[in-house]
């Protein structure tokens, strides 16, 4: 399935409109993580694998763990490490 990703924080500016449509072969967050890692190696030279590995994936209401299913609507956000306050 295709996943529409919205990018925040340090990931802003990497894609037009801070959005990325990514084909994912699989149905879990782990599959999305692998697809994004492949995309990043090819397109995001300033983002290290370590930083990408520390990112979380979320819906508007929940941060999802790697073993969880991708949402049916295919819309998710990528959350780099947070630094509020």
């Amino acid at each position: 399935m295709d996943i529409e990703l919205e990018l925040f924080g340090v990931l802003r500016g990497l894609e037009p409109g801070d959005r990325l449509r990514l084909p994912v072969s699989g149905a879990t967050v782990a599959d999305l993580r692998a697809a994004l890692a492949t995309h990043a190696v090819a397109r995001w030279s300033r983002i290290s694998p370590q930083l990408l590995g520390s990112c979380a994936f979320a819906t508007p209401t929940n941060v999802l763990r790697d073993g969880e299913a991708l949402p049916a609507d295919g819309r998710m956000v990528v959350l780099p490490p947070v630094s509020g306050g």
Partner: protein, 155 residues
Amino acid sequence: MDHHFVQVADRAIEVLDPAAALEFVSDPGFGGITMFVGRVRDLNQGREVAGISYDLYRPLALARFTEIAEQTQRECGPRLKLYIAHALGRLAIGDLAVVIAAGTPHRDEAFRACRLAIEAVKHTVPVWKQEHYTDGDSEWSEGRSLRDADGSKQG
């Protein structure tokens, strides 16, 4: 839920309001009120800061603020009013970045609630800080990973 107030304040149209926070957490039965106000400072790790831009994922941030308020209430007791507000956008030195206020019958719960809430806001809410330096450079703060954090949920 009238015991909690949560807000994301877009700096382009509004500013955080500590007076409103104090008013919200006030109650005739509350003798203890505490407030934490986070402001933009002019120096960080030896670099002169000109300002900060806060990025934020609003739907999840507001959901987390509410969860934090509910968790704080479970830990500090039902007689608690809590106010959580965070800024979004470009802030100058001295601008308010975050306001947390807690009202309870006694001071101990008020201090504890305020501390619990600000720590949770800093570590579990999808907010990102980009520092702008006086030399023209900018840098995103490193922050804390939400991957497998306590704030994530199963299902």
